[in-house]
Structures are given as C-alpha cells and as structure tokens.
C-alpha cells in the first residue's frame, strides 16, 4: 500500500500573465506521511496549494489523488468538489474561520454534506424527524473529539473570532479534519505561534498522521516544525523544484542551502 502514492503532481504549470508561479512541477506525496514544501517567499508554494485544492486551475499538468476506489483527477474538479468528492482538506495562510459563529458551529458546518444528506436536504430536519437529530448528535460527537484533540473543548460555545491566534490556527485544523479528508493541506500552520505552541502543533500533526492514517502536505517556514516532523521535503524556488528528499538529506543539499536555508548554523535557528 505504501508503494502507491496518495497525491501525484505531474508537470503542473500555473502562469499569471508572463509570470510562471509554478513551472513544470512534479512530485508525489505518500499516505501516512508528512510531506513538507519549503522555499523562499514567492517560490510558488501557496499557488501550488491553490492548484491542488482547486482554487486555481493550472494551465498544464495533472494532479491525481489515489483513493481506494481509484484515481481522482483534481484539476478537473471544482474547488468545493475537491473537498467533497476527492476529500482533500485545507487550511489557509491567513486564517479563515467563520468568526461570528461559535467554535462548535464551525465544526458542524464542516460536516455540511453529511448532515445535508441526513436531513434529506433540510426537509427531514424541518419536519423534526429523529433521523436528522441522530445525525446531528454524531456530528457533535465528532466535533467534540476534535475539540478535545486540539484542546479547545472548554471554548466550544465561544465565538470563533474571539479565540487567541494560536487557538484559531488549531481550530482551523480541527475544522478541516471534520470533513474526513484523505489528504490535509496545511498552509503555514506554525506562522505566528510561540515555541511552545509550535511544539504542541508537532504533536497534533504527527498524531493525525499516525492515528488517522491520512497524508499531510505542509507549507512551512518554521524549520523546527519542518525538520522535526516531515517524512519528505520538497524544495521550491521560482516555481521549480530544486530538491527533494528526507529532512536530513535536504539539510545537507548545496542547492537548498544556497537558495533558502543559508549557512548551516543559521538553519539550526
């Protein structure tokens, strides 16, 4: 099983006018692994994420997600279908929570498609059938599980927008997990976290990988996160892949040091 990749990116090119944000990029991500994508600012990391999650349509290339039922070609799906049918979850660099809804409601909205089916597109719910209330209870149970995981259970009824920054980041991860993804794409989850929160994030992410058996794709600048938990690292510069390998190999790679990491003792920081 581990020989089949989970996500296969082949020759993807995304151009904005004359600018090649992502240029003929190919790599694979495996299930039950954390694949980190690193590179200097403007290297095309977030553009790549937007291509994978359907917010951009690449001009060239194929993005395949291998499910048990067969491959799904992501570049052909709408963004919401990528979350719904291909089961790719994501978080955002600038947090996008439903700020004026409660923490719990955020997680219930994430289970929209399941609950919508259970409520027969709201009809069963309008009539107050028990079928829907059972489904909602299951939804709350799942939300409670993830709130416990990210340590926000005691804040479940607060407005999501009123949480401190680090908690909002964790809530966004919990919300994405409530969609039952096969692949979770995290755009700079450690940005703005203090060292202790960063460490907690490492535990959370490795927990998701080991206990839920899904693949994680991670954009991150914080090298303590990248080197600490990644199984595979892909390095981008100017939209091109300049290296990939295990964290140890990347740390020693000449091209990566030149383009991004700098001198070795700086990379340790």
């Amino acid at each position: 099983m581990s020989h089949t990749p989970l996500l296969e990116v082949e020759h993807v090119t995304m151009r904005f006018g004359g600018l090649f944000a992502v240029n003929d990029l190919s790599f694979t991500a495996r299930p039950r692994q954390i694949t980190a994508i690193i590179g200097p600012n403007g290297a095309g990391k977030t553009t790549l994420f937007n291509c994978i999650t359907g917010f951009y349509k690449p001009q060239v290339g194929r993005i395949t997600l291998h499910q048990d039922q067969g491959p799904v070609y992501l570049e052909r799906l709408d963004d919401f279908d990528i979350a719904k049918k291909a089961r790719v979850g994501r978080t955002f660099q600038n947090i996008r929570l439903f700020a004026r809804m409660s923490v719990l409601e955020n997680l219930i909205v994430a289970q929209h498609n399941t609950l919508m089916r259970a409520s027969a597109f709201s009809l069963a719910g309008l009539l107050g059938l028990s079928r829907y209330s059972k489904a909602e209870k299951l939804g709350v149970d799942k939300a409670r599980y993830w709130l416990d995981k990210v340590g926000l259970l005691h804040l479940a009824d607060e407005d999501a927008g009123s949480l401190p920054y680090g908690s909002q980041r964790r809530l966004e991860i919990a919300r994405a997990m409530c969609t039952d993804p096969l692949l979770l794409c995290l755009d700079e989850p450690a940005a703005g976290l203090n060292p202790r929160e960063s460490l907690e994030l490492n535990t959370l992410l490795t927990g998701i990988r080991d206990e839920h058996g899904i693949g994680l794709l991670l954009i991150e600048h914080d090298m303590s996160v990248v080197m600490g938990i990644s199984d595979w690292v892909v390095v981008l510069d100017y939209g091109k892949k300049i290296a990939e390998g295990t964290p140890a190999a990347i740390r020693a790679d000449e091209a990566v040091i030149r383009a991004y990491l700098g001198e070795p003792d700086e990379a340790e920081a």
Binding site: F98, M101, E105, V109, A110, F121, S122, A176
Partner: protein, 422 residues
C-alpha cells in the same frame, strides 16, 4: 476635573448658532400663504432666530459640560440586554406573539389600530423574509420589493382572470416569487457586496417597469382593481352574500360589521408572519441555515469545506423571495387594488432599513424595527409636516445609541453546554 475652557465653549456655541441659522433660513424662514386669490410668500424670521438660539445655547452648554464632567458622557451607553439575559429573548418573543394574538380584542383596539397593526405585520413578514437573504446569507439585496410585486401580481392576475381562490393562490404566489428569486440568483452568483446591491437594485426596477408597461397583461399604470377578498372556509366578509355563499356574520348569527374583515385580515397576516418566523428559527438550526451563515462569514472557507456556494446562495434567494411572495399576495387581497406605484425602490429601502436597524439576523429586532419604521410614521401623523422630521430624528438617535442594530447579539444555534464534562 479639567479646567473649563470658556472661550472655546463660546466659539462652539456661536458656530452652532450660525450653522443652525443658515439651515433654518431656507427650511423654516419662508412659507407659502394660501390667501383667497393666490399663493403668497410669508416670512417667519422669528423662527430662524429661535432655532439659532436653541442650538447655540445647547452647543455652549454641551461644550462646557464636557470640560466639567470627567470622562465621556454616559448618555448613550445602554447595557446589552440580549447578552446579559440570554433567556429574555425567548420570553419577549412569546410575550410579543401573545400580545399580537390578543390585540384585536383589547379594549383600546379600534379599527384603525388593527389596520395599522396589519400594515406593520406585512413589513415584519417582509423583514423576516429579507433577513434570510441579508441577515443570514449576507447577500445585500436592494431589489427585494420585486418579489413582493411578483407575489401581489400573481394573486391579482390568478384571482381576476382564472377565478382562483386566495388560499390556492397563496402557495402559487410563493412559488412564483421563489422562481424569480432563483432567476435573480443565477446572474449574481459571482457578485458580492456593493456590486450585488447594484444588480439587485436594477432587478427591482426592471420588474416594476415591466409591470408598468406590459399593458395587455398587467393593465399598466392603471393597475388591477376589484381583487377578490379572502374567505374563511367559504364564508365571505360582505354585507350581503353573493349567490351560493354565506356571509361570516350570518353563519355565526352576528350583526354585520366591517370590523370582522379587518380583524380577519389581521389574523391572516399574523399567521403568515408567525409561520415565517418559525420557519426561520427552525432552518437556522439545520445544515442549510448554518451554511447560509457560514457563507456570510467566509465564502472561500465554505468552498474549502465542500459547500457548494451556488446552491446555498440560490436557496437563500428563493426562500427569502418566497416569503415576500406570500406577503405580496396578502397585500393584494387586503388592498383590493394594486398598481406598480406600490412597488417602488423606497419599499425595498424601508424593508432593508428594518433588517439593518433590527440588527442583522435578529428576529425580534425586525419586529421592533418594523414597529419603529412603519408604526412611528403612522402615529406621528398628528405632527403633520413635522412627521418626517420626528421620524428622521428617531432614526439618528437609534443609530447613535445602537450602531449595529437594536438587537445585534447572536446566540449560537447549537451548544455543547452541559455536555462539556462528558
């Protein structure tokens, strides 16, 4: 305590007086006198003087007191009742509903009061309908009156041309309006905020212009008259029963009174409005209602969670439009006559003002705002030409006092609450 800055207060006062005088001169200084032969121009410069004095002294005192009193004046700070007593909203809701049901039988209720209450309820219902679109789904709709017009004309045309009864036309009118909601929804799917507002504004005008110009179908600006009144299970509310019908008064052995119909219409709109409210309260707790609110908060996040924004937006437009359609057909049957005049932009603006003033998304807020916006001008009629002045003043005060609407606190639709420990 800060030192009293006397010269500054004086300067503020004089400045205020000058501005007041400049404003009052054209507005209050002249008046038309209707003498027997012709209109002549009269002068009221004493009024201008009084206005300038009142504003000048007021401004002077205000400026002085600001120095004399420590900190900000606490005049406009009121506690947020909704947040302090979460249960209060429920009791107030039931209390208002109970009062509304009892209203026609209360000793002080006369025909004109019930009639005014009926008018307020029409706007409450429209406000609740628009609340789904604007308050929950966050789609700024400036053409809501279009759906109201569609509902009204649906009933008027079906009843006068095909002779269908009110109770059959009511759901049909709702369906037609919902259909128009979807028709409007499609072209505006990609728009948000100001752009959406402009397109919906245009849509509202298009509907009105069509009604005005499609002479053969809608009878143009002359409108449709003799729209049948609703019946209560076949009982009519007329003095003499038409052939084959019984009147309400005869059936219950009462003396005929015009009040019966007024009270009946009041209960019809009350039932429709309560239905709208229950529907909204219920749907807010269902996936589709939560999806509307999520869409208002962040559309991109919705997409990333697998929510299809197209269906969510269209369902919000259709649901809101449906309630406007119901209200429209009620309006047609109450008036007995409709013309495009009744569906101008100002109606959309009033309905939107009700939603915004009530506090976006708040159901009871809409009731209070409708009472203020529709009820107040009715009761201010005694003030004659100062009616709109009093109305405008009330609006300004409310917006100073509650800038985010009368009731802006939002309670979550689901709570972990006590289960937390489990």
């Amino acid at each position: 305590m800060a030192a009293v800055n006397f010269p500054r207060a004086l300067r503020d006062g004089v400045l205020g007086a000058v501005v007041a005088a400049a404003l009052a001169l054209p507005m209050m200084g002249f008046r038309l006198v209707d003498s027997s032969q012709a209109l002549t121009l009269g002068f009221r410069f004493d009024w201008v003087l009084w206005a300038a004095l009142v504003v000048g002294i007021g401004r002077f005192v205000l400026s002085l007191s600001r120095d004399a009193l420590p900190g900000r004046l606490p005049v406009l700070a009121l506690p947020n009742w909704g947040e302090r007593f979460p249960k209060a909203r429920l009791y107030v809701g039931w209390g208002l509903a109970g009062f509304a049901i009892a209203l026609p039988f209360l000793p002080f209720a006369d025909r004109s009061l019930v009639d005014k209450a009926t008018l307020v309820l029409i706007y409450v219902m429209l406000g609740w309908g628009l609340n789904i679109v604007v308050g929950l789904a966050g789609l700024l709709d400036l053409g809501f009156v279009a759906f109201y017009a569609v509902g009204a004309y649906s009933y008027a045309l079906l009843a006068t041309k095909l002779d269908l009864s009110f109770w059959l036309c009511l759901p049909l009118a709702g369906l037609f309006a919902a259909g128009f909601g979807v028709a409007l929804g499609f072209p505006v799917l990609r728009l948000r905020g100001d752009y959406l507002a402009i397109v919906t504004l245009g849509f509202g005008e298009i509907i009105r212009v069509i009604l005005q110009n499609w002479q053969d179908f809608t009878n143009g600006p002359a409108g449709i008259s003799a729209i049948p009144r609703p019946t209560l299970f076949g009982l009519t509310f007329t003095a003499n029963a038409p052939a084959g019908k019984t009147t309400f008064a005869d059936y219950f052995g009462l003396d005929f009174s015009g009040d019966h119909r007024v009270i009946f219409l009041y209960f019809v709109i009350l039932a429709l409005a309560l239905f709208t409210n229950l529907f909204t309260l219920r749907i807010r707790r269902l996936p589709i209602g939560r999806a509307w609110e999520a869409l208002r908060e962040d559309e991109i996040a919705c997409r990333s969670l697998g929510l299809n924004p197209t269906t969510i937006k269209l369902s919000a437009f259709a649901t809101g439009a449906m309630f406007a359609g119901f209200a429209g057909s009620f309006f047609a049957t109450r008036q007995g006559f409709i013309s495009p005049e009744s569906f101008t932009f100002i109606e959309s603006a009033v309905i939107l003002a009700i939603v915004v003033l009530g506090g976006m998304g708040s159901q009871i807020g809409v009731v209070l705002a409708a009472l203020l916006l529709v009820g107040l001008p009715e009761w201010f009629r005694e003030l004659q030409q100062y009616r709109m002045l009093a109305f405008g003043g009330a609006m300004v005060l409310i917006m100073l006092w509650k800038p985010s609407g009368l009731l802006s606190h939002r309670a979550p639709t689901i709570r972990l609450g006590k289960e937390k420990a489990a």
